[in-house]
């Protein structure tokens, strides 16, 4: 925005323009005065071990760039920079004999070497990423321009260039002596850059001579013309792609959108109005001045997932969220864009209801989905959209309403989805215009052109957005690739993974090279390490879900002579194998967490580590990081110590096994005794936690039993929590808290902790409303008060308490990772656990946050040095943000996978079951199905019917049909029928109906 760097105006370093003149020459002429800069030593001192002087005594190896810049304070500053020219820059071609061989990237027998210009990179990045395009020279002037214009495309081209498998070479033309171009008087910066590209292309041609054909790829007519005039081979993108004779590639080519008159063919059936549908975005300068004076507000757009024509812009200048309603007010903004908003006049703030009666507002209904686990998952409803006209008095929108006047930063990506069904155009092989519907409801439909409509109609495809102008109802984009058939489990799973930005590519060879030599076994060096305590004699055991192969925690409980217990929690010593800065570490940091889908797990670390080397399996010696407490029988911690260790687990039990052992009173072997001791300690610890105010919220998690052959779900049921689960959980929590205290003490500014912000009054409102409608009074002043209220919420209905807890869960915020230096101590609080400090330490195999905490703890114990990344505050915050982002995505992917399998399960098994009403709406209500852990809408009136028969009572949360004397109240039990229907071909959905 501000601080725009003008493209440089280059001028050569001032040469002395001196002259010595004498007014009246005297007889003895004094020696000519030396000019100011005489001894020009243009030497670039390269210094390997011995300081060598390499004096390249050519004139003009140093240029100086100067340009005028405006600072934030509004001052105008002239900036002068040096610009060195070199003659040791390699060209990167394998066929070149004179340049440095180490830098060879371009192919030996390349048909053509392509030089691309900036707009080609910006607009056709999808095409460039396609493996069919190779041997491309990316000039540094192009890279700089791309970086200034679009950071995400820049990152993509950077990945392409660093990928050794692709033959993309970066040529620093700006610093090469022969290709450096100085700006001419009156030349615009863009012209200068274009000229630089042409000069570089020409240099390449002359440098490589006959051995290769150099081609300039540009869509700019002017540039192409000038290039051909200068004797270069120049082609547009389309003609080049055509020459490759790969028909599939042509689809990837983005057609420039100027003057595309035929776009309307796919429009609605209405007569083509060609009217301007959206208002123009205001120019940038007006936006910045408007922002400064306060007429416009800036913020990030968040589209309501359940109502794509409603969005929120969080604005700091207002301190509240601005609501944007309606297609025209949203003015072509996408979810995630940074936008500038103008507030509507206050009297219009409630009127927007009437705007919803716009055409084409389909799909306002909700789908069947999993029970939300937090407020982020739950559907958002503004106050007035769902209630009928009569109850409008109850909810006056006090939130500001506005409209979007400009987009400051676009957040365009590629999206998964499928094409809207349409008849095949007459005459195959031609270009068809199709509408792409994204799976993510927040994205509007996208218009694309394709030549393979037949192939794409029933497939899941990926489409990227290119532009959206004021005349077109929908944005324009282009096809990127096909994933697979709709409805096919593999395809849908892949869609889930793509949408949630989950990396499923196999680990690269560089990453695998970081693994220790396999098969791994304990070495004498490990034992000899003074920091590592030998605990192989201790009776260590682990309890995990059945079939678990990546065991990252184990416990022991030894009675001490003084009556106390020594309790130890041993965590897999992952940081012994994942060293900071290695490719393995970078990859793990990127992935940030293992993703658990139904029947599938996407690992954060390579399998040999997760399932063998780090996993604390039974009867093998393994390295661990241990937290050891001395506890009284009343679970009071007397002392705690931390050490790296070597353990040998004697048993790897499942929860069922452990529970069975504890319950069987006949068993008195040492292992069972230990289990029982741990269990009693755990119970005391748990009680203490609850007294402090830890919340026990009901989990509605669902488990699938998968058929081993077809991988289809065989059975679906609620996840059972047993005492054994709670026991392990308790000690993991205690370990996490202990470690959090320790690392914070040593590194108060750079510890990675986890916090859970308390829910606000607003978030708890739906819960309070529902509770009060059934006459329940909940005290939400603190977590303890809420926990107590929840405990006391009992009715005759045995399920009541669980239901209330489920409703409470959806009001909670998500817990997040953060860097301790970014927040104050009071903000470290974890609401759900009622703990002042918390972090993640106990699962380094599947969470990168734990790896980070392991490193912090090792440094705190002086076992290892703290890696330099911890010194860099912003980088650490970036890591925490990435962890949160990936964690969130992994959760959403898990849920989506479960929903997908639910659909598959019910496809062949329609079922009747009991359900509970959890929310009343105008035309029906939302029910929760306890047996399957899902919730969904039940419609009392058909879609489209305005529901005039049913009356909603907001206060009592019930809906009644007057006259027929039927009513439904919240938390009431109803019988429903669940079945998979296909309202549109290949678009199955689960439908709930009343019985």
């Amino acid at each position: 925005m501000k601080n725009q760097f003008r493209t440089d105006r280059l001028e050569s370093k001032p040469k002395p323009r001196s002259s010595s003149t004498l007014l009246n020459p005297c007889s003895s002429s004094p020696p000519p005065p030396p000019p100011f800069c005489r001894r020009r030593r243009s030497a670039l001192f390269t210094l390997p071990a011995a300081a060598r002087l390499r004096a390249v005594d050519l004139a003009n190896m140093l240029q100086s760039k100067s340009f005028v810049k405006k600072t934030k304070q509004g001052r105008v500053v002239k900036v002068v920079r040096e610009h060195y020219l070199r003659d040791d820059i390699p060209c990167g071609a394998a066929s070149c004999s004179s340049c440095d061989t180490a830098a060879r990237r371009l192919g030996v027998d390349a048909a053509a070497i392509l030089v691309v210009d900036t707009n080609v990179v910006l607009h056709q990045i999808d095409l460039l990423e396609n493996p069919a395009i190779e041997d491309v020279v990316v000039l540094s002037v192009v890279l700089d321009e791309v970086k200034n214009k679009n950071l995400s495309v820049y990152n993509r081209i950077k990945t392409l260039c660093t990928n050794t498998a692709r033959r993309f070479f970066v040529f620093t033309n700006e610093h090469h002596r022969d290709t450096y171009v100085k700006e001419m008087v009156g030349e615009s910066p863009n012209d200068r850059n274009d000229r630089a590209i042409r000069v570089a292309a020409r240099w390449y041609q002359s440098h490589l001579g006959e051995s290769a054909k150099v081609m300039l790829i540009t869509n700019d007519r002017d540039n192409k013309r000038k290039a051909t005039e200068e004797g270069l081979n120049a082609e547009t993108v389309e003609s080049y792609v055509r020459s490759l004779a790969q028909p599939g590639l042509l689809d990837l080519v983005v057609v420039p959108s100027s003057g595309d008159v035929t776009m309307e063919d796919v429009e609605d059936l209405r007569p083509s109005k060609r009217k301007v549908i959206y208002s123009e975005h205001k120019p940038m300068s007006e936006i910045t001045s408007g922002l400064r004076c306060g007429i416009f507000h800036q913020g990030k757009l968040r589209v309501n997932r359940y109502n794509p024509f409603e969005a929120y812009v969080g604005s700091e200048s207002i301190g509240d969220e601005i609501i944007i309603r309606g297609r025209s007010n949203m003015n072509r903004a996408f979810d995630g864009d940074i936008v500038a908003v103008e507030l509507l006049p206050q009297d219009q703030w409630n009127e927007s209801k009437s705007f919803i009666a716009d055409d084409d507002e389909d799909d306002n209904e909700e789908d069947v989905h999993l029970v939300p686990n937090s407020a982020d998952d739950a559907p958002r409803n503004t106050n007035s959209t769902q209630s009928t006209v009569e109850s409008s008095a109850a909810s006056v929108s006090s939130r500001p309403v506005g409209r979007i006047v400009g987009i400051i930063k676009r957040n365009w990506n590629s999206y998964c989805g499928s094409l809207e069904p349409m008849p095949m155009p007459a005459g195959s092989g031609g270009v068809a215009h199709a509408l792409f519907v994204s799976k993510d409801r927040r994205i509007p439909k996208i218009r694309i052109q394709t030549r393979q409509l037949g192939n794409l109609l029933n497939k899941r495809i990926v489409v990227a957005v290119d532009s959206w102008d004021v005349l077109s109802r929908y944005p324009s984009g282009h096809y990127v690739r096909t994933i697979g058939d709709i409805g096919d489990k593999e395809t849908e799973t892949e869609v889930v993974l793509i949408e949630n930005d989950i990396n499923t590519r196999p680990f690269s060879t560089q990453v695998l090279a970081c693994l220790p030599p396999l098969p791994w076994s304990l070495s004498p060096d490990d034992l000899a390490n003074p920091n590592r305590q030998d605990l192989r004699h201790v009776r260590v055991f682990s309890v995990d879900p059945p079939g678990c192969r990546d065991i990252d925690d184990a416990l022991h409980c030894t009675p001490l002579p003084n009556g106390n217990f020594e309790v130890g929690v041993h965590i897999a010593d992952v940081t012994n194998f994942v060293l900071p800065g290695t490719p393995l570490d970078e990859e793990a940091s990127q992935r940030a967490t293992s993703v658990y889908l139904v029947g599938q797990r996407i690992d954060m670390l390579p399998k040999p580590l997760t399932e063998d080397v780090c996993s604390l399996r039974a009867d093998v010696e393994r390295l661990a990081f241990s937290v050891i407490w001395e506890m009284t029988p009343d679970a009071d911690i007397i002392s705690s110590r931390y050490t790296k260790s070597v353990i040998k687990s004697c048993a790897a039990m499942s929860y069922v096994e452990a529970q069975a052992r504890m319950d069987d009173s006949r068993l008195v072997d040492p292992l069972t005794v230990d289990l029982r001791n741990l269990n009693s300690l755990a119970k005391i610890m748990r009680n203490r936690r609850c007294e402090r105010g830890a919340l026990t919220l009901a989990s509605a998690e669902v488990k699938f039993e998968i058929d081993s052959e077809t991988h289809d779900p065989l059975d679906i049921g609620i996840y059972q929590i047993r005492e054994a689960n709670q026991m392990i959980e308790e000690f993991m929590l205690a370990a996490n808290v202990s470690v959090a205290e320790k690392i914070l003490k040593h590194y108060p500014l750079c510890s990675l902790l986890r916090r859970h912000p308390s829910p606000t009054k607003e978030m708890l409102e739906p819960l309070l409303r529902t509770a009060s409608s059934v006459g329940l009074n909940l005290d939400v002043s603190s977590s303890k008060a809420l926990a107590d209220s929840l405990d006391n919420a009992k009715r005759d209905d045995p399920y009541f308490n669980k239901l209330i807890r489920i409703l409470a869960t959806r009001c909670m915020t998500q817990a997040v990772y953060f860097c301790s230096g970014d927040l104050s101590l009071s903000e470290y609080y974890h609401y759900g656990l009622a703990s002042a400090l918390y972090t993640h330490f106990t699962s380094p195999i599947r969470r990168y946050a734990d790896v980070v905490v392991h490193r912090l703890l090792a440094a705190a114990l002086d076992i290892a040095k703290l890696p330099p990344v911890f010194q860099d505050g912003p980088q650490l915050t970036g890591i925490a943000d990435n962890l949160n982002y990936r964690h969130r995505n992994a959760q959403m992917a898990s849920r989506a996978s479960v929903e997908l399998h639910t659909l598959i399960y019910f496809r062949t098994r329609p079922v009747d079951t009991e359900a509970r009403i959890v929310k009343i709406k105008a035309n029906g209500f939302i029910v929760f199905v306890p047996k399957f852990g899902i919730e969904g809408p039940i419609y009392l009136t058909a879609k489209g019917d305005k529901g005039a028969d049913w009356v909603v009572d907001e206060v009592h949360q019930k809906v009644t049909k007057p006259g027929a004397n039927i009513s439904y109240a919240v938390l009431q039990s109803v019988m429903i029928h669940m079945e998979v229907v296909e309202p549109q071909p290949h678009r199955p959905k689960l439908q709930l109906t009343l019985l």
Partner: protein, 242 residues
């Protein structure tokens, strides 16, 4: 911001991380001074003038009459930086740098050969683009040599930093303001002794050693260059003498 381009390995101005900026030095620019020199490191341009040895002006300043009194003043011109400086002298930074230069040069001048006298070193910065401290010391060395004041050894100085995980030699203003560490080293060239070591920001110990060694290499390269200049100057003088 990428101070070292990850794709090409070049810095913002086209140098490699271990390359210095262009050096330029000239002797005898202020004719009225006993010794003077102009030194440029890239866009940083500095004039140093030496007056002395001469009679002590202010007896109270003289601590040890058996040795020469070395005084130094560092000044920046108002136009030397991008923003115009309102107070070019007397501010704390100038005082500190004056002190630093004085101590560095004092370590090298054979003060016991010139008792009861004072040597004034004045350094004027014409253009500042990072590394002014080093340029001043180098210019002062040249000026002292031009003035014929006996010294133990040539004092040279260079700065180095650590950005984007690589040690960078001879930071310019943009790299200096990046917030990374900045190590300035001054050495006695032939004797291989460090007389000046300053650093700001934080740096882990082993990285610090790498950066400091890089700076010392830079100093040695500058020393070679300075010797060349002095040699050629002497040849010129000899030539003029006939």
């Amino acid at each position: 911001m990428e101070y070292v381009n990850p794709l090409t390995g070049f810095r913002v101005d086209g140098r490699r991380p271990n390359e210095m900026r262009q050096l330029k030095g000239e002797v005898g620019v202020v004719s009225r001074a006993d010794g003077s020199a102009l030194f440029e490191m890239g866009n940083t341009r500095v004039i140093a003038a030496v007056y002395g040895p001469r009679e002590v002006q202010n007896r109270s300043q003289q601590v040890n009459s058996k040795e020469a009194l070395v005084r130094c003043e560092y000044r920046m011109a108002e136009f030397s930086t991008g923003d115009r400086r309102r107070k070019p002298k007397g501010d704390r930074r100038s005082t500190e740098i004056s002190l630093v230069i004085r101590q560095t040069m004092e370590a090298s001048i054979l003060t016991h050969l010139m008792p009861h006298s004072q040597i004034d070193i004045f350094v004027q910065v014409l253009q500042a683009d990072g590394g002014t401290r080093s340029a001043c010391i180098n210019a002062a060395t040249l000026a002292l040599a031009d003035a014929g004041i006996p010294m133990r050894d040539i004092v040279t100085s260079c700065s180095a930093g650590y950005l984007c995980s690589s040690p960078l030699l001879d930071l310019n203003y943009i790299e200096d303001s990046a917030g990374g560490p900045d190590v300035t080293v001054g050495i006695l060239a032939k004797m291989d002794k460090v007389t000046l070591l300053q650093m700001d920001a934080k740096l882990p110990m082993d990285t610090f050693e790498t950066v400091m060694e890089l700076a010392i290499e830079g100093c040695k390269a500058i020393a070679t260059y300075i010797r060349e200049i002095l040699l050629e100057n002497t040849k010129q003088l000899e030539y003029r003498r006939g």
